[in-house]
Symmetry: C2
Subunit: 204 residues, 2 copies
């Protein structure tokens, strides 16, 4: 069991068969050491991919992604869900449906930060139906940049997101893969991280 899986086992709350609450360490309260670990894992998994930029979605993607950016020594861009006075023109935009908020939102990235020279790693905190990842991929494609893969913190392996992304030819790496939340219990599927890296220095 990798360190993230241990956190999930010990600290997450299974709200129902579809919803896992990880607000004590990932998406409300944040454990910074765990974020560093996640960043190190992504950096290791994508170390030979020539990544020039990371792209995530506000807000919960930012903490793990900024640690990955630090490890990989590349800038991070976070797509914004709402326009502001200082971000309103010259944007790439995509529509994304959020399951947890039950609404469609428009996500945006300024055109000046993505070019057709970029090799982009997309990072997100959750992969469920794949909507956020596909929205981010759409933005990268609008820029004419290359998508080197998707780095997912927690994948709900019982939902169709991963297969959709694989069918489109994307590389998907998830640090924890939740196979089931039935009976109030978290069951894991083998994670990309556990599969590919055995007993590395990061594993506890």
């Amino acid at each position: 069991m990798n360190r993230l899986e241990q956190y999930i086992k010990e600290q997450s709350i299974v709200l129902n068969e579809n919803v896992l609450k990880v607000d004590s360490f990932l998406n409300h309260q944040i454990d910074p050491e765990l974020m560093l670990y996640i960043g190190q894992v992504f950096a290791e998994l994508f170390s030979n991919a020539g990544v020039t930029k990371l792209l995530t979605l506000e807000s919960s993607g930012i903490a793990p992604a900024v640690m990955a950016a630090l490890e990989m020594k590349v800038p991070l861009i976070f797509a914004r869900k709402r326009k502001s006075l200082t971000l309103k023109d010259n944007l790439y935009t995509e529509q994304v449906y959020s399951f947890t908020k039950q609404e469609v939102s428009e996500i945006s990235v300024s055109r000046k930060f993505l070019t057709d020279d970029d090799k982009v790693l997309i990072i997100d905190d959750f992969l469920a139906n794949g909507d956020a990842a596909l929205g981010l991929a759409g933005i990268v494609k609008q820029a004419g940049a290359q998508i080197v893969g998707m780095g997912i913190v927690i994948e709900k392996a019982f939902q169709p997101g991963r297969q959709k992304l694989l069918d489109l030819g994307y590389r998907v790496e998830s640090i924890a893969r939740v196979a089931s939340l039935k009976n109030g219990e978290v069951q894991f599927a083998p994670s990309d991280y556990s599969d590919k890296l055995n007993a590395g220095p990061l594993q506890s």
Copy 2:
């Protein structure tokens, strides 16, 4: 000039006399090395304050605050601007007016992550009128916790936020203090960081 002031000098865009655009390194694209530097500065400035938790506001506060949390070895909480399926009950809430979005939003923190034992450092990316900092302070006060201070990345020293916070007795530390944006140019006031720490290992 500290490292953040250099970034502002070289990479920010003065939109008008009130608005400074720092989306190339802080609040849209993020420079992770700069975030680490900012985290180190906050950790140094508040090293003797006994901080048990950091509190910031999504989204732009998260990247600098998670680096400060890593350096200080304490958890970070980010207040949410919108409720979601997994965060809707048992909340501390405050109303906050956003100048850049020109609207009032409700910010929330789950009650389970702040208690009256906590000593909280509030971190935010900008201090202008002080509305966000005061909203966060209101949440800490609802919890009965102690506010040890406000760590601000960029202060607009020509707006009244700092004085409001000082008048209420809060300790305010800003890494960069912008004195004026007149004539399309950034003028700095002496920053808390430059004042208090001379030629430390972090300064470039």
